[in-house]
Amino acid sequence: MTQKKKIGLIFIIVPVFLLYFLSEAVLREAAVANINPQKVKIDSILNELPDSVRDLVVYRITRTEMLNNLAAAETDDEKVSAMVVLGSYTRDPLEKEKIFWEVRSKYADHPESAAAFAYYLLNDENPKRISLSDYHSYLKKFPQQYQYNVWAAGLNRLNDIRKKITWKDRLDFLRPLLDMKPEFRDYSVLYTEISRIAGRFEFRDIEAKAEALYDESRLCPSIMEFLMQEEMDSLNAGGKGKK
């Protein structure tokens, strides 16, 4: 292509591009103006987007909803729950750290704060790391019906970092359960886990004890039943009080 032709092509193509962008913008506006936003559901908008953008948009919308929930929270329980949900969901590590640290330092007496404590459990990259014994002393503050979720959050955390820890760490984490008399059926899952790990390393006495406690826990009511009963009792008591 000669120099003259190249210059000629550039002189044609630049205004053509300008016309293209101008007409595209007007046509796009015209298409958008056709749409009544009240008729269109957010799901139908999201369906039109590619996966990568949809994921990001869903994340931002969900995060905004969580921030709104946090702002609307009135009691401490509501606030801790909203903060934990937001802290678990956010993809910003600084925001996650800030939220979980605030929960850990201000709301340690709430069982809803378990996710924040689990976040720091054996977290070697974090200077505010919590050891297994620290976590045990935290969970022992709560009665058994609330303690179960704290155990579960800790166990989930250990599952997430399973490549960095040993099976012994998992057993050590669950070991205090062997000294506890189970009051709820839900604990049977945790005893099964102890029995599985102990059986794998042939700690027969631990395995036998875990199995015995498993059998014992199976005879107990579930936490859900207990809490419902508790709620009904308080409602009945309130009703009688009114009479």
Binding site: E24, V26, N34, P37, E48, V53
Partner: protein
């Protein structure tokens, strides 16, 4: 250029064209009595609202929409093989040895292909109108018929796009790439509209990246949207079609000018 156009249009005498024409006739006959496109899609969808905003009383017929796609695919198959076939048969060397410039050759091919695609579409529209008349005893209004012919504008960038692709690839590859490019173009068409409906800043940087990608594809939804027959949108649609075609053709010219047409050359 005219000679090249006539040479390309001569493909309409080949059996392949008649096979495609028969397919178009049969499909348009069976599609003729479909309801307007707005009644074929969910009322809550973005597409339905872009199609029907109550700006004009002439809806886009579902049959016209289907026939546009069919004609684009079939015309694309015919057109995509034009330049690669000339190269593989060395016909291009014979043509360019005459006082014909490469740009004239390419424009001739482009207009030839435009005539082929438009002919297929006009024939299919004629079949739709006649079938409707036979079945109902009523003719469509003149304005409604004109509105369907607006889709002809979409062939302006479409044919340029096919010519551009065929300048870069071989015969079969041009057909396949053109088909996928058309599919991608249709799927990308909704992105800017959906993005505009979202609250500002929600899509973030990913939105910008997607927008850049979007500019690599023609937006055929603009041709299906509801607008007044002769207004700003119509003028912009004309500008959009011609400017987009000019961009595709400029790329094609650039490729033809630098391409080695000998058989041993790479595609």
């Amino acid at each position: 250029m005219l000679a090249i156009t006539l040479l390309t249009v001569k493909r309409m005498k080949e059996p392949a064209f008649f096979i495609f024409l028969s397919i178009v006739l049969v499909i348009s006959y069976f599609m003729a009595d479909l309801d307007p496109l707005t009644q074929q899609v969910s009322g809550d969808s973005i597409f339905a609202q872009v199609l029907d905003a109550g700006r004009s009383s002439q809806p886009l017929l579902a049959a016209s929409f289907v026939m546009f796609i069919v004609c684009a695919v079939l015309g694309g198959f015919l057109g995509a093989s034009e330049i690669p076939r000339d190269i593989s048969s060395d016909l291009i060397l014979v043509i360019l040895s005459k006082p014909i410039r490469k740009i004239s050759y390419m424009l001739g091919k482009y207009f030839g292909m435009l005539i082929i695609c438009s002919s297929l579409f006009i024939v299919s529209e004629a079949v739709i109108y006649v079938t409707h008349y036979i079945n109902t005893g009523e003719l469509f209004s003149l304005m409604l018929m004109l509105k369907q012919l607006y889709l002809l504008l979409a062939f302006i960038p479409f044919c340029a796009m096919i010519i551009m692709i065929s300048c870069f690839t071989g015969e079969l590859a041009a057909m396949i790439v053109s088909f996928f490019y058309l599919v991608f173009s249709l799927s990308f068409s909704f992105i800017p509209i959906a993005m505009a409906m979202l609250p500002k800043g929600v899509a973030g940087a990913a939105g910008g990246v997607v927008f850049i990608l979007y500019y690599f594809f023609p937006n055929f939804i603009f041709y299906f949207q509801d607008f007044k027959m002769f207004g700003l949108v119509f003028i912009m649609l004309l500008i959009y079609s011609f400017s987009l075609a000019a961009i595709f053709l400029a790329v094609a010219v650039g490729r033809l000018e630098t391409r080695d047409f000998s058989k041993s050359s790479d595609l």
